[in-house]
Assembly symmetry: D2
Homo-oligomer: 253 residues x 4
């Protein structure tokens, strides 16, 4: 069950050149940790600078959100890359974002896998280990489940997050987006899932089973106007229960 | 006139995926500072990791060699980018390379402009200032001339280098590659230019004028088999004069 | 002065991967010729297929809208490419789009320069000639002005278009987007400019001069919700004057 | 068993920008059909133009060699793309190359899968069907095996080729490059495999089995200096047996 404070994290900085994606300006003031795209699957140097500035202005802490080198597929298509390539892609992207963060006098807080990298990590632990190697002493923010276990074995500082609007498998992994019902759209259903998680530390899986979850962060989405409603809903649920919203790094300070 | 020690710098890590460019394995043991491509005009994460490892193994210090986002044109085609974009591209690439260097326990030493960025810096000081802003407290390694002056005004630690095989304008800038005679190929002519620079601190320009030069590094090329002859020639010239080859950072230690 | 039928052309198919740009579904039924991005500055193979299908369904004829290889800059940043490179980029992109058009049993109708290529064509006629060489027997659709003259000298079938919402220089070229007042936003002002062009064959330039224009097409934009209002306004103006909207190729049939 | 004439095909045009790959100038005069990269996994518009010119000058017929959009991985890394995406990528690349070929007054002759697309076609027939749909009435040149069968079912004009220097599985597919022994390097072994194939229409598989093969073309490589020896060896073997070297399209004329 979570502490009396919790982190809200969201994927941000996913625009590219003249292409605008997400509602960063609206979402950032509502969250506590931002997962910022690093230019491979989304984002570009200018977007990264601007996203860092927005997060700083709102007191939101910043993490890297590295992806596969596939802008056309938004990093959502698995690629037959080697573990060494994954480690190198991770290191490159984390370093690039870190430069923007440190140029503002801040510190990078965490790293979180994007898209197909998460699926690849689930299906092959050596991918998780490769990403952990490049993450170093940053916080490894990851969905509840096997990728957290491996990262702990690698000696990383691990924080698990819970997805307000995603269905869960009994293995505690997220149901793949390709499967119907993977994404919850109904606000009532989302409220039920979040309240259950916060109050009982459990989630009811797609198969109907009730499994326990440990988490210190909730992941919210920012890429649809409806997503804003979900973020506001979660803040409301937390406020009702007197749960503060705080960045990961403060939860463990 | 140079000190009794001098740095030899060379552009390296310019391969990309299965495309091999340069003779890094042969050149690295002969130089003291490596300008490593950062993935925009050349290089990729895997090449960067390998180049850093090669340099470390040879005791060669590493600098970033950022370029324009134009792999197809190898960063040699001027682009109508803004100064803000240039600063962001610089920061991104320096950060990415820094991650590979620091992962090996080393420190990034310097930054050097690649290709069209140098021409853009020559024609508009605001580009130089933008790149300086992203360079921070790293050494600004640059051809003798106006880009050094501006960087000093920006408060940077500046080192000028001398091109063994390039012709000079009377303004002390490099003759553009588009002009015949810009690149020296004859080893005797190159020897003459290097000896003159080392002994008298001057160069004879394309127009026939003799101008003074201050430099602490010599830039050599590594992308042709003939280039290796030039590097060896310069080492020979230095050895004859009892001039040590040392990385930039040691010259100023 | 235009014929009693006129073409309406619009830049379309500018989405890329998961990045959506423009309001293609809404705009296509309102125009007669579509300038479709070809994957260099915008667009991708999947977007091209879909855009061709949308145009076919609406009876809209298709042209290629080639740009510079600069997705990050949306093809709006001039690059120091050679005329030979421009010709090759043009040929490549036209061929790629042609394949999608011909797969549906249709014929490609025209070609129109995108972004910085237009500025480059204005400043150096050899760029226009290079693009003409790759355009072959397709219609060369181009803003009123010098690029039309050169294309005619090259023996191309030329159609000039008029920009409803852009200011003009006295040389009949479009005022650069960098200059304030280059883009008209006020619907009344746009109506005035279009009516004047249709009725008197003239435009009042930014400098206040009245210059004559020959055109057979009007270019409209589709990338903002407001743009739809402009398209509807132009259709209204044409309807009031009993001017039919027809694809370029039918105007000359 | 092959006819008294046979085609020799080779992958060409794989350079990119300033990156040179292969020995196109040396190889082209020795073959009869060229598989030309189309800008996704290798090649660029300028390289395509130059490769087409080289092939034309040598009387070599041209085919498209489309790959995955992964320059960094040279199209050799499987990607989780959809069949629709594969069809679109194929159509785009074939169209782009066709433009260069037709600009010289020639006709495109064939299409051949590159890299991971071949592996994907082997593991899922729907990928083969998607590529066939975009190939239309061009010749489908493919390694002996299941991808030929499916293409025939799709109604395509199919030609199978034999790999002089690759090991075969008993299913008649090529042994994956990841498996030791997949690529033959010994000239005597290659001679034995080619002579056996030409004289008995069989190949001895990696497992030691002897399987029959029907083929009308031999695939040779051009990306290593040693590859030239293999091409010359095959020409020698053919000359000894009075087998002419002719492009695919002439074999069926």
């Amino acid at each position: 069950m979570p502490k009396r404070a919790i982190d809200l994290n969201c994927d941000l900085g996913e625009s590219f050149g003249c292409y605008k994606l997400g509602h960063d300006e609206a979402v950032i003031p509502l969250i506590s940790s931002a997962n910022v795209a690093c230019g491979f699957h989304a984002g570009d140097p200018h977007v990264m600078r601007r996203t860092v500035a927005l997060a700083n202005a709102a007191g939101v802490r910043i993490g890297a959100h590295p992806g596969l080198p596939d802008l056309l597929g938004f990093g959502r298509r698995r690629m037959a890359v080697t573990t060494e390539e994954v480690e190198d892609y991770y290191r490159y992207q984390i370093g690039a974002l870190r430069a923007f963060v440190e140029a503002t006098g801040q510190r990078l807080q965490h790293v979180k896998m994007h898209g197909a990298l998460y699926e690849m990590a689930l299906s092959d632990p050596s991918f998780t280990r490769a990403m952990c190697a490049a993450t170093g002493d940053l916080i490894w923010l990851t969905p509840v489940g096997p990728t957290a276990t491996i990262a702990r074995e690698c000696g990383l500082k691990v924080v698990e997050d819970f997805y307000a609007d995603r269905a869960y498998n009994s293995s505690r992994s997220l149901v793949s987006r390709k499967i119907p019902g993977a994404v919850l759209h109904d606000l009532l259903q989302i409220r039920r899932q979040v309240v259950q998680a916060l109050e009982t530390g459990t989630v009811t899986t797609l198969e109907g089973e009730q499994v326990t979850l440990e988490f210190s962060s909730i992941c919210v989405h920012g890429d649809t106007p409806e997503a804003l409603d979900i973020v506001r809903l979660i803040r409301e649920i937390c406020a009702e229960r007197n749960i503060a919203i705080q960045p990961l790094s403060e939860l463990f300070a």
